[in-house]
């Protein structure tokens, strides 16, 4: 039991290797290894949640070396919560992945599986490590895997991902620099150790510099407004499954790292009073919420709309950090889970629509409600949750944030939460209205053909399911011009392996909403306890 914290990333790292070598031999083996490994990590993380609730936290010392010499792994309520989010989304996306990848990135699936496992290993590692430098390593592992997964999108994707990579490298560099300052002033890298030693050093300029650098670096990685510039293009041009995996969890784990620094490395007092970082984050978040919502309203491409909405939604989490009181932070943390579910299902639905119709533009969505009833019902639930209609999950995180703003007496944040709900209602109901419209004659089929360039018809058709995964040769030039996507497949409802994760997520959105107090009580209340004293 006490190896759980290290077991989860270890399983996933091993899975990544197994998936790579398995996939070299036969695509199916690579997939089987990924599915098994991710499912195992999911089960272990659920066991971890149960264990934390029942028996409290687990601290594991890697190789038997006690900190500060060795690296410590910590499974406490906060990391258990995060890891559960990451592995749940991970498992569902892995179920969804093969069908979607075969359609959108034919010939490259063999690389996608190990990258997914590596991404999850990096993210779970970030959550579970108790060492600030180790966190950096996992941060970059996750980032590297993400670059690979995102860059295989359409032909514009490499440009967008290059920008993301440069932003990410700078963010990682700032964080590492901050780690250096911390180490040279406190002499340790272990989080618990740092928490003990730092209070004497709060006036030290090196520690202040460390805090600023680390938060800035992570802010870049989490796309905190106005450091979000890399995000919309990346999510827009990425394959649907990649976006569905990365948009829900990647930025959130960076946000998690900020919360971890805030609560467990620097004492809250430091970041609230001595160096008012949280207040600063809060105001950036307020700007980000408005900016993201307004930009999302202006988009017609569904994926781009979702990407801008992500900028706004990640800012809700940052707003929770900015409020820095128990209700506010509970709202922020709960929104991590809620937004992971909502944005995950929305991107996955985007992929399903693309598979069946080739459409990405919202104004062409008429008639989808009849064509794909289950998928669109899930879309409606997720969209209502994004707007914050009760009893979906999205309502409750906003409600806690409202309570937090009242507690903080911050009426501007209060007003911004209200206004942004209205704005998101505008852009999500626009989509809902469209999908439940009756299509005019011929509208459904024409743009479907037009949306896929002719090159895809010629190039994409060459890759049959039975062909080897193309490890050696790589895709032809023709494919890449169109992102390698095939023409849309005929048929109504999304295929089973894609529909299942979508439905599970939609049901989870409802369940998490109604039973949110179970999570808040058992996992989140202990996390925010340091703030109430």
């Amino acid at each position: 039991m006490n190896q759980i914290p290290v077991l989860i990333p270890a399983i996933l790292l091993f899975t990544s290797f197994a998936a790579f070598f398995g996939g070299m031999i036969r695509l199916r083996w690579g997939y089987a290894a990924t599915l098994l490994g991710v499912a195992a990590s999911f089960l272990v993380s659920m066991a971890g949640v149960a264990h934390v609730i029942a028996n409290g936290e687990i601290r594991y010392h890697l190789g038997g070396w006690a900190p500060p010499v060795g690296i410590e792994w910590v499974l406490d309520p906060l990391s258990a919560f995060m890891v559960a989010i990451v592995t749940t989304i991970g498992l569902l996306v892995v179920v969804y992945l093969p069908r979607s990848a075969r359609f959108e990135i034919p010939g490259k699936e063999a690389f996608a599986y190990p990258s997914v496992a590596l991404l999850l290993a990096g993210l779970t590692g970030m959550c579970l490590t108790g060492d600030v430098f180790n966190l950096y390593v996992f941060l970059e592992i996750a980032a590297l895997a993400a670059y690979a997964l995102l860059a295989v999108g359409d032909r514009r994707a490499p440009v967008a991902v290059f920008r993301y990579l440069v932003f990410g490298a700078v963010g990682g560099g700032f964080y590492l620099l901050g780690v250096g300052f911390l180490y040279f002033s406190a002499g340790t890298l272990n989080m618990a150790d740092l928490a003990e030693r730092l209070p004497e050093l709060y006036q030290s300029r090196a520690v202040i510099a460390a805090a600023v650098l680390m938060v800035t670096g992570l802010g870049l990685k989490m796309a905190l407004f106005p450091m979000h510039l890399w995000l919309p293009d990346v999510y827009n041009f990425a394959p649907s499954a990649s976006a569905g995996l990365i948009a829900p969890i990647m930025t959130k784990v960076s946000a998690y790292a900020i919360i971890r620094l805030f609560l467990d490395v620097f004492h809250p007092v430091f970041l609230i009073e001595i160096l008012p970082v949280t207040a600063f984050i809060g105001w950036l978040a307020a700007g980000g919420i408005l900016f993201g919502s307004v930009m999302a309203m202006a988009q017609t491409d569904l994926r781009r709309m979702l990407a801008y909405s992500s900028v706004g939604q990640i800012s809700y989490i940052a707003l929770g950090i900015g409020l820095a009181n128990p209700f506010g932070l509970i709202g922020g943390l709960l929104h991590m889970l809620n937004h992971a579910l909502m944005k995950g299902v929305l991107f996955l639905i985007g992929g399903a629509i693309r598979l069946r119709t080739g459409l990405v533009e919202v104004p062409e969505f008429a008639g989808l409600g009849r064509k794909m009833p289950w998928t669109m019902a899930s879309f409606t639930i997720a969209a209502l949750a994004m707007v914050g209609i009760p009893p979906t999950a999205g309502f409750f995180s906003k409600y806690y944030l409202l309570l937090g703003s009242v507690d903080a007496g911050n009426w501007i944040f209060f007003a911004i939460i209200i206004v942004s709900s209205l704005l998101s209602a505008v852009y999500f109901f626009r989509v809902i209205e469209m999908i439940y419209r009756e299509p005019e004659e011929g509208v459904i089929s024409e743009p479907a053909v037009a949306a896929v360039p002719a090159g895809a018809m010629a190039g994409g058709g060459g890759h049959g399911d039975s062909l080897p995964p193309g490890l050696g040769g790589g895709p032809r030039h023709d494919d890449r011009r169109s992102g390698g996507a095939r023409p849309p497949e005929e048929g109504g409802e999304a295929p089973g392996t894609m529909l299942l994760p979508i439905l599970v997520l939609a049901v989870l959105i409802l369940l998490v909403g109604i039973f949110n107090v179970l999570i808040v009580d058992r996992l989140l209340e202990p996390v925010v306890a340091p703030l109430s004293g």
Partner: protein
């Protein structure tokens, strides 16, 4: 007062939600689909009615389901105020079910499965908010109701319907968010959200906060209750099929807003605190203005449903005015008007729908002589029309009588004047429809040709109900006693007189 754990309120809510799912899955078989509707409606009404004796005996049925937020349960509680609304809504749903069959089949409407499923969902939400034990639960059902009505408003599927749907959503979502914000404020100022007869907020919270809460809730409920200037979605929403206009936009949805005011005044703030704040006077002023302006606009409308819609706007504000006057008689009048107006207005809408289905006529000016063709329908229309104007022996008289008595109690002869003047206006815009239907003649109305029995029978029943409420208000489902019990809970006053 005794509090009992009871699952009946929960079942009453769930039965139509389950029916909605069943309807969605049996869309291919219209008869089976409609059977679910009717079954759910009857079951729901039976469940609600079975709570009546206990509530009148002073029992309060309660059930807490799950925690929604720390310390706040998804709680249901049956009290007289909620029961009053639930009884009228669930009873009228049964009639609407039959009426819808006649109407939707008569017009051969599309998307009927969605129509019945969403209608059932709306009723779930309505009963849910009747039985909500705290503000958060109430707001949740209120928002579900808002969203579930949207597909019904855009049912026609035309560009115009979508435009109106968007307008409806902007109003409804704004209102919902105002309520959520207000709820969060109450949560943090009072520490509790449980409705309590007589109110649970106290002046210690500070005038600024209390006014903010009041205005947020006034915005939130004012939209659904059609208080001017927040009313303009309601006449537009008449683009929905007539059963929706009849049940939702004359009874369930709009009364949810009015019922919200009852909760706000009687169970959150309490009459005393509102009186001290002076907030009730503001609400009363808005309501009085709405009554008069809406009646005047109704006079100018030639479209029958639009005329009825403005009449609804006016009559909803009667109830709001009764609540805002804060005196026992006015509250009693308001409570009764919730029921009597429901019965009369649904009659009028049913008639309008029957005329449209049967003859395709929508405008008042086209109705000359139609009384000879559809005598039963138009007779029922007449009952509703004179009832709304406040003629004795019909339900509207009773409720208006108490409202008038209440305005005298409150010392406001001004409000008494408003009531009387609007009674005249009511007569002016409704009664001529009946007279021209019976006493004028025109080409093209065959001798006798009534609408389908699916429609005529429900119309007859609602008309009879309107009369019954006027003769013996306590006779059916003991509405009068329930209303009395509600007022007694809020103000601590009991009435010696009983029914007139």
């Amino acid at each position: 007062m005794e509090t009992l754990l009871d699952l009946r309120p929960l079942f009453a809510i769930l039965v139509s939600a389950v029916a909605a799912v069943a309807i969605a899955f049996t869309g291919r078989n219209p008869n089976l689909r409609e059977t679910w509707s009717v079954l759910a409606a009857v079951t729901k009404f039976a469940l609600v009615a079975s709570l009546l004796p206990g509530v009148l005996a002073g029992e309060r049925y309660e059930v807490d389901l799950v925690q929604l937020a720390p310390g706040i349960e998804l709680g249901l509680r049956v009290d007289p105020a909620g029961l009053l609304f639930a009884l009228s809504a669930s009873f009228l749903w049964i009639l609407t079910c039959f009426y819808s069959i006649g109407y939707m089949r008569g017009l051969d409407e599309g998307k009927q499965t969605r129509f019945y499923a969403m209608l059932a969902s709306c009723l779930s939400a309505t009963i849910g908010l009747c039985f909500s034990a705290n503000v958060l639960t109430f707001v949740i059902f209120y928002e579900i109701l808002s969203v579930a009505t949207y597909p019904l408003v855009t049912h026609a599927g035309s560009e115009k319907a979508y435009r109106i749907g968007r307008q409806y959503l902007v109003y409804a979502i704004t209102a919902g968010i105002a309520l959520v914000a207000g709820t969060a404020l109450i949560h943090q100022t009072a520490g509790t959200l449980d409705f309590q007869a007589g109110g649970f907020l106290d002046a210690g919270a500070g005038t600024g906060v209390l006014w903010t809460i009041f205005l947020l809730f006034m915005l939130g409920f004012g939209v659904k209750a059609g208080v001017m200037p927040l009313h303009s979605w309601l006449p537009n929403a008449m683009i929905a099929p007539t059963p929706v206009s009849a049940l939702l936009h004359a009874v369930a949805v709009v009364k949810a807003g009015v019922f919200g005011f009852v909760r706000l005044v009687g169970f959150i703030f309490g009459p005393e605190l509102l009186g001290d704040m002076g907030a009730a006077a503001l609400l009363a002023a808005f309501a009085a203005a709405t009554i008069l302006i809406a009646s005047c606009i109704a006079l100018t409308k030639d479209d029958l449903k639009a005329r009825l819609a403005y009449s609804t706007v006016g009559h909803l504000s009667y109830i709001v005015l009764g609540v805002a006057l804060l005196v026992p008689h006015a509250l009693l009048g308001a409570a009764l008007h919730m029921v009597t107006h429901a019965a009369m207005k649904i009659t009028l809408f049913f008639c309008a729908g029957a005329i449209y289905v049967h003859t395709g006529k929508k405008k008042v000016s086209e109705l000359d002589g139609i009384g000879r063709q559809m005598p039963f329908t138009l007779a029922a229309f007449g009952v509703g029309a004179v009832g709304l104007a406040g003629v004795p022996l019909i339900g509207g008289f009773v409720s208006k009588w108490y409202l008038a008595a209440g305005s005298v109690d409150a010392g406001g002869l001004f409000f008494l004047g408003v009531l009387l003047l609007s009674g005249l206006l009511n007569a002016a815009y409704l009664v001529p429809i009946v007279t021209r239907a019976f006493f004028r003649t025109s080409e093209g109305h065959p001798a006798f040709n009534e609408a389908s029995l699916f429609m005529v029978v429900p119309i007859g029943i609602t008309a009879a109900l309107s009369i019954l409420l006027g003769i013996h208000p306590d006779g059916l489902f003991r509405f009068f006693s329930v209303a009395e019990a509600m007022v007694a809970g809020i103000t601590g006053t009991t009435f010696a007189g009983g029914a007139p």
